[in-house]
Amino acid sequence: MKKSNGYLTAGCIITAVLFAMILLSAFWTPYDPSAMSGAEKLLPPSLAHWMGTDNFGRDIFSRVMKGAGTTLVIALCTVAIGGGCGLIAGSLTGYFGGRVDAVLMRFNDAMTAFPSILLGLVFVSVLGPGTYNVILALGIVFIPSFTRMARSAYAACRDVNYVKSARLMGASKTRILYVHILPNTLNVLLPAVTIGFNNAVLAEASMSYLGIGSMSSLGYMLSEAQSMLYSAPWYALGTGGVIVLMIFGVGLIGEGLQRRNGGQRYA
């Protein structure tokens, strides 16, 4: 368990670099991300503009730094909503079983029957566009998969002897669910969270790409870059590259966590 874990280390480094970049962008970017300049339209990457400039002469690297922040916040909040609600619902259905389980899980099945993007689109069109609504929509869309994951983890722990002992000591249900069982399910749930994070980044990017997401996220920039794929390929490459790196980093962390747990895979 204490053995060094290449996946985990590499993932943490990549994620840390990106995180540092995003934190930095809150105080400083090389250029003002929205400053236009007619003289510097569509410049290829150079030392002055690391990722070149777009059709309005805006520095793409500065915009990517800001955009990555938006994407990260949306993905984190999505995972928090989906993971939080999913954990509560999953722990209840998994631990108690019975009728509650049957009803909630059929509802869950119905939710998963829709492709997540489609469901996200439905929620956004009901709630209206905007960053917060995208977060809410994606969060709701992500609840079922987390519920399922938490449910199976809790169901496996329900009749384990140490849970019985805790019950016999007179522990309350809340305490059993979240003090005794939760730590023992983390080896399953943490990798699930990293996978969920990646799905959230992609889902957000897809929604922005379709024009219903946040106006400043990486996905939205990618949709802008599409029209300039031939005149300014660096725009799409830079933006897409950062999305790939973000997913790659967190994906490596997830893989590392799974391998640390003795190589079982949960996906």
């Binding site: 019975g98 002897n161 140490y162 002992s165 805790a166 016999l168 000591m169 007179g170 309350s172």
Partner: protein
């Protein structure tokens, strides 16, 4: 101390009642053995006393009185005040009964945390005392260890420490020595006797190992297919068993001269 009156338990997915009208009394400071083959209903009886029956999956009737408090039909909140504080339970497999991610000390303290308002240092002191009571070497070290760092015998001692830390009047022991090797078994039995002597703890000792029961229990009850077929002082049951099943059980005990005779001349 404990009075079980006409206990019936039937699981919905079984045809036969798991427990069919068991009545059993345990007096203050008494160690009662409950023996019988697997499936005879002895564990279900204990589960009913401990409030661990899956109530929705079975029907049950009768009465279980712990110092006058009815437990069988009691609601959960009342049960929780009894579990851990007035009844301690020790299971068969110490390895699986300890939360693998919680330190031993924290698990020994658990009932104090749940049932008393003692502060952290007082809980620690009580836990260390309990660990000392069960004769674990270096209680301070054990306190800070995780279960996987202890051996089976040490874990069983730690489980007993967790069960007695709130000084319950009744200890339910569900085959506590079965998973241990014989020398450790003997030590645990000595330990239980000591706890019984020093704290006057009553015990219900469930086992299918008759030799162990004979060493420990003053009175023994024999169960077969959900019924209590014989009950009485251990020595009397031993020397003059009245029920056929008891006779066969006792005849089946391997001795030095006669190894594992099934009684059917196989």
């Amino acid at each position: 101390m404990l009075e079980i009156r006409d206990l019936h338990v039937k699981f919905h997915n079984r045809d036969r009642e798991a427990v069919q009208g068991v009545s059993l009394t345990i007096h203050d400071g008494e160690i009662v053995g409950l023996v019988g083959e697997s499936g005879s209903g002895k564990s279900v009886t204990a589960m009913s006393v401990a409030g661990l029956l899956p109530r929705r999956q079975c029907s049950y009737s009768g009465e279980i009185l712990l110092d006058g408090t009815e437990l069988l039909h009691a609601d959960r909140s009342l049960l929780r005040t009894v579990q851990g504080r007035r009844i301690g339970v020790v299971f068969q497999e110490p390895m699986s009964c300890m939360d693998p991610l919680m330190k031993v000390g924290a698990q020994v303290e658990e009932t104090l945390l749940l049932h008393t308002k003692l502060d952290k240092s007082a809980r620690r002191a009580a836990a260390l005392e309990a660990l000392r009571d069960v004769e674990l070497p270096e209680p301070e070290t054990v306190y800070g260890k995780y279960p996987y760092e202890l051996s089976g015998g040490m874990l069983q001692r730690a489980m007993i420490a967790a069960a007695i830390v709130s000084r319950p009047g009744l200890l339910l022991l569900d085959e506590p020595t079965t998973a241990l090797d014989v020398t450790i078994q003997a030590q645990i039995l000595e330990l239980l006797k000591k706890l019984n002597r020093e704290y006057g703890m009553s015990m219900l000792f469930i086992s299918h190992n008759l030799n162990v029961v004979r060493k420990l229990c003053g009175r023994v009850a024999v169960m077969q297919r959900g019924r209590l077929v014989e009950e009485g002082p251990t020595e009397q049951v031993w020397t003059h068993p009245t029920h056929d099943y008891t006779k066969r059980l006792i005849a089946a005990i391997p001795t030095r001269d006669r190894k594992e005779d099934t009684g059917h001349g196989q």
